[in-house]
Structures are given as C-alpha cells and as structure tokens.
C-alpha cells in the first residue's frame, strides 16, 4: 500500500479512485467538485481569507500579530476556513530565490475534503455528511460539539468554536455550489492560485502545471494529495507545493485513522475477552461463602 508518495509508476493511472458521493448513496449525482491550490502563483494577499469570512459570515478571531511572519492568522480554525501560510526561507539557494538568496513561499490552506474523511467516519451524530458534490460539510443544527472530528482530522483543519460549542470548517461554499456558483475564495483569488472545478479537470490541469514547472527548472514543485492511491484516497482540495509539505505545516503522508480501526476493534475484542477470562480465573478455586 502506498502511503501518499508521489512516486510515479510506469503503469497508467489505475483509476480516478473511489467516488465518495456514490459511496454515500447518491446514485445520480453531479461531478465531484474541488479546489486545486497552485501555491507557485500565490501572492499572499489573503483575499481568500477575507472573502471566505464575508460570504460565510465567519466571526473574526482576534486582530493580533503572531510576530513570526506576515502570517497573523496562524492556522485553520473554527473561525478560519482559509489560511494563508507565509514561509520565509533566507540564505537558501532555492529555485525561486531572489538576488539575496532568499525566497517566500505562500500557500492558501483549506479543508482537504478527503475521499476517505476521518472527521466524517468518527462523527457520532451524523452531523458531518458527504454532499452530492463529494465534499464534506458539518450540519450545524445536528452537531453536539463532541470534538471527535477535531482529534481525528490528520490536517488539523476542523475545530470547535468556544463561542457556540460546535465544530466548524470549510463547506466548499455548499450554498454557492447548489446555485452553480464558484466558492468565495476562488472567486476572490486575483492570481488563480485557487482554482475551482470538477476534480478530474483540476487533476489534469495540475499534472500539466507541475510538468511545466519542472521544465522551467523548478525541481521542488510537487503535487500534494492529488493521488487517489494515497492515505486519504486523494483530496477534493489538493495543492501544488514548492517545498516539502511539512514546511507548509502539512503532514507529509497522512493516513486516515479509520484504516486501522478494524485492527483496533479486533484488539478491543481480544482485550474484552481477556478481561472476562481474567475475572473467571480470579474467581475459580472459590473462596469461603459470604453472606
């Protein structure tokens, strides 16, 4: 089993992966929609962050300075569904380096809308659901704030709000999709770093882009979460990165936690049986009868 390496094989792409909307019970559904975030053209303007907040009426989360970079947002959270990362690499002979040997990497992070979504698997209320577009959304009127999705997400995307106690994350603008509209962040992006569309088309476009970048000598360019054979079955929102994923605060080869759940249940069953056997052994041989 491959664990998300981007190693290319001689064989043609085996399949486009599983169809999550079909699996969720939508027998006749629209094309799977997603994001391709091409960080090589991100200019760090944060228009996506602002557009997301405005359209989704997400509350502001503190006007504070982190002091670490131009990133004063910090991370995705219950009230931040797009987050622009700034990475300053100084004194490093990178391929995009300026005359001073430094470069800035910028990347707009978002919920990955995983094909195999841990948050969706572990949700005990059914508040998290798969949409007909193959995306993952929280039904706020069902969520009871148990927080299981928060611990299960391999990307640290979904979070629980202190204000209302519920879990929140990017919906890929579910309300706009239903109307044939582009999600707010992609609409606002001035450089087309955030591209929105049918996932098949985005994957083709991304392959072309990474090939072009390699031809231009940008050796570090790599696609992230684009492969349906990776540990999350490929993402609905994938990325073109110019450095290793962890540099951007992303896990390099995440595997959805529920892939190991069948084994966990087997160990739990064995431990439960062992507990009963232990009690049986303790009580065998008897004791004085007590009143």
């Amino acid at each position: 089993m491959s664990t998300g390496t981007t190693t290319t094989s001689e064989q043609p792409d085996p399949a486009a992966g599983i169809d999550p909307a079909f699996q969720a019970g939508y027998t006749d559904h629209p094309q799977r929609l997603g994001f391709f975030t091409d960080t090589s053209v991100c200019i760090g303007c944060k228009a996506c962050e602002v557009a997301c907040k405005e359209w989704n009426a997400v509350p502001e989360d503190g006007l504070l300075l982190t002091g670490m970079s131009y990133d004063n947002t910090g991370s995705l959270s219950a009230s931040t569904w797009r987050h622009v990362a700034f990475i300053e690499q100084i004194g490093r002979p990178g391929e995009l380096a300026g005359a001073d040997g430094a470069r800035w990497l910028m990347s707009s992070d978002v919920c990955k809308h995983c094909t195999e979504a841990a948050c969706l698997d572990v949700c005990p209320t059914g508040a998290l659901m798969r949409t007909e577009f193959g995306t993952v959304v929280v039904q706020d009127d069902v969520c009871n704030g148990c927080g299981y999705c928060v611990a299960a997400c391999p990307f640290g995307v979904i979070a629980r709000s202190d204000a209302d106690g519920g879990a929140h994350k990017c919906t890929l603008c579910y309300d706009r999709l239903g109307d044939g509209q582009t999600p707010a962040c992609a609409k606002a992006c001035p450089t087309e770093s955030i591209q929105f569309g049918p996932l098949d088309e985005l994957r083709e476009r991304a392959q072309q882009r990474v090939t072009d970048l390699h031809d231009q000598g940008v050796a570090g360019a790599q696609l992230y979460l684009e492969d349906p054979a990776d540990g999350i079955g490929g993402a609905g929102a994938f990325f073109l990165l110019l450095d290793e994923p962890e540099v951007y605060g992303l896990p390099p080869a995440p595997v959805v936690t529920t892939r190991d759940l069948p084994r966990m249940w087997r160990h739990v069953a064995a431990a439960a049986a062992g507990l009963a056997l232990g009690a049986l052994a303790a009580c065998l041989g008897g004791t004085e009868r007590t009143p």
Binding site: T5, P124, A159, G166, E244, V255, T287
Partner: protein, 326 residues
Amino acid sequence: MSGPDGARPPQLATRKAGAGSYYGLPVVKEPVWRSPETPGYLFLGGLAGASSVLAAFAQAAGNRELARASKTGAVAAIGLGGVALVIDLGRPARFVNMLRVFKVSSPMSIGVWLLTGYGPAAAAAAACAVTGRLPRVGAAASAAAAALGTGVATYTAALICDTATPAWHEAHREMPYLFAGSAATAAAGLGMLATGPAASRQARRFAVIGAATELIAKNTMLQRPGVPAVPYQKGRAGQLMRAAEVLLIAGAAGALAAGRSRPAGALAGLALLASSALTRFGVFLAGQASARDPSYTVGPQRERQDAAQQACVGVAGTGTMAPPSV
C-alpha cells in the same frame, strides 16, 4: 518523489525526520476534550465495566459480598462517568443526537450504544443485589452488565486511538490491553477496599492478573518501534505514568501480602484505584503533548514514506517483491 532529471531534490537528502515544520506549529489539532472530564471518564468507565465483570463471576462463585460491592461501585462509577461525558460536549443539551445514528466507524457511537445498554443493566443488577428482591431479574441484569461491561471497559482504547493524535494512534495495538489491565486493577482495588479479607480474596487475585497485564501491555507499547514513547515519559504525563506504576506495583504487592489484614487490603485497594486513575490521566496528557509537537506527526509519516521508497528501490534493483509493511 523525483525532479525532472530524476535526481532527488536536495532537501530530501538533507532532511531529518521532524526537521521541517511551519514555525514549530502543530500539524494536527490538540484534542479539545477537557481534563478531568475525559480522562476521568476513561477511568470510571473502566472501573464500572470491570467491576460488573468481577461481580458476575464472584456471584457465580458464591461470593455475594464482593458481588454486591462491585455492582454498587459499577453503577456509581458509570453514573459519574456518564455525567462527565455529557458535560464535556460543546453542546451538552444535544447529547441525544448521538442516538440518531449507529456507526461502526465511530468508536464514540459504539460506546454510546454500549452505555445505553450497560447503564440500565448495571443499575438493575445493583438494585437487586442491594434490596435482595427479584433475584432472577438481578441475575439476568448481572449477566448483561458483565457482557456489556467487557466492552465498556475496553472500547475507550479504540475511542482515543482512532484519532490523528500520534501518541494514541501509533499505540493502538497495545492500548486495549493496557486499558483492560487498568480497568481490572481499578475494579479489584474497589473490591479490596469495600469487602473484608475473606470476600476480597478473589479481588486480590484479579488485582494481580490486572496489574501484570497492564505492566506487560505498557512496556510492549512503549518499546514498539513507531510508538512515540517520549510523550509518555516526559513532563506531567511522564510524572503521572511513573507514579501510576509505583502505585500499581505497591498495590499488587499489597494484594498478595495483605492476607487477613483488612486495613492492609484496603490500603492496597486504594493504591490500585489511584494507579488506574493516574494511568488514564497520564495517557490523556501524553496524547495532548504529542499533538502539540509537529515532529510526532511528521516523523512517523516520513519514516513510513522512506521505507516505502526503499522498498520501491529494492523492487527496481533486485526484481524481488518487497512490499512495504505499513
């Protein structure tokens, strides 16, 4: 991955596991579950489930004093634990939304349904044992509580391990046995505390079995390659785990040595109860600490990825199949 000319990008050659991070910020979110509610529930659920199991077998062996004490303890523990679970929700009033679905893919869903069956059974078993009425109903309730109790005491391991929290997820093979042992020592400790020397003999044997299980499971877990041991050994979590081990060994030794001394047995029982609670708090804090440090998330993933790459090289180089074990 490879560049256009097939050469590895330079950062791959110089990369160390866990070296790269985004300003040292966490990759995964720290679990939002609060302490003492969640680790308290892990302890109380284990205490309740294992007490019901011990009660059923003690009753079958004719030890009604131990059975009665364990049944009473079980219902008290699960009552408190249930309250802890509900108040730890972000929206406690919507607790019942858990009952609108049944999902095998969610250990929390399975746990809620287990508790829904177990709670009433444990309550009925305790009520019949204390009042002495409806003995047949009591026997059926005891059996049901014991059967479901094995699940209540152990499913919590899957609950915490089915997450992206590195110290929990990577330990998912051993955690169920660690929790079963910890639950057994807690139930045995309660039995030793609440009954006299004659009745507690079976509890004392259960204590030794539970303590041995817990020690073996914990040591196997921390020595398994890929399991981050440091979060379990350092900081506050490390202190709690060490204190738990000292109390566990002292309690088990006390269980063996107490003999006919009730105070000695009770003291050993208290030590075992405290040990079980500290173990759960230690495991909980270790998970939180591991989520805060990105190297615990990135390191194991890089190791798996590099192992898979090595295997690919092996296939290309020697023509032999070497599937990476993940």
